[in-house]
């Protein structure tokens, strides 16, 4: 299987948990050394979790387009969605940051959120256009 196109998360969405984790680590370390209370140490664990999550997101492709199907995986621990282009049903607007994609899987209609705000705007315009073309070509 050859990948036609792949999309990654935008830089600001990747860096936000890294920055937030770093700030949390500094706050919890400073408060630990000032008070010497162990109750501030769990904050350090949480900050490591945020930073690791950010670095995992850095090299991860959220959307992979193949010749006859696509692979969607929006979060590191979320299930992978494998969708054939012939199974696409329709695309709905929810708000400006989210779109809902309906597709057929194992005889049932399923739906998935597409978080537009996590990706670059021009990438998402291209992807939505691609999906609409596939749905249109199936209708015709």
């Amino acid at each position: 299987m050859k990948i036609i196109k792949n999309y990654q998360m935008k830089d600001s969405a990747i860096n936000l948990p890294i920055y937030a984790g770093s700030v949390l680590a500094i706050i919890s370390l400073v408060s630990f050394f000032m008070t010497l209370q162990p109750m501030f140490l769990p904050g350090l664990g949480l900050s490591v979790f945020f930073v690791v999550l950010g670095f995992i997101n850095k090299n991860r492709d959220t959307i992979k387009l193949y010749e006859d199907h696509m692979e969607l995986k929006f979060a590191p621990a979320s299930p992978v969605h494998l969708i054939r282009y012939s199974d696409l049903i329709r695309l709905e607007d929810k708000n400006k940051n989210m779109k809902r994609l309906y597709f057929q899987s194992e005889g049932k209609e399923k739906r998935i959120w597409i978080p537009l705000s996590q990706h670059k705007e021009e990438d998402m315009q291209e992807f939505i256009k691609f999906l609409e073309e596939k749905i249109q070509s199936k209708k015709n």
Binding site: F49, H69, A77, P79, L82
Partner: protein, 102 residues
Amino acid sequence: MEKIDYRMWIGLAIHTLICLIQLAQPGIFLFYFTLPFVLLNVIGIILIISGKIKTGAIVFMVGSFAFIPIGIIGIFGARSILNKLKQKDFFSEINTIGNENN
């Protein structure tokens, strides 16, 4: 045995360690709180070895939720097993459809 992701073993080891550390604490309440979740992890691994991969992976994930943030390692492992299973089903379906057309 090769069905089990290495991250699940790491997760199980960390969860067991956390559970046993609670024994040394003055309050033993946390030991009794974490023990059922470690048992769920063990049951999940046994189920996966015995062939019920999907149920086992879900049971393992439920057991790992109590240990978040470090439990995310085990959740990644179990999720990767479920994803591999999904991919296998999907591609075998594609191949059978292809053969029917031929």
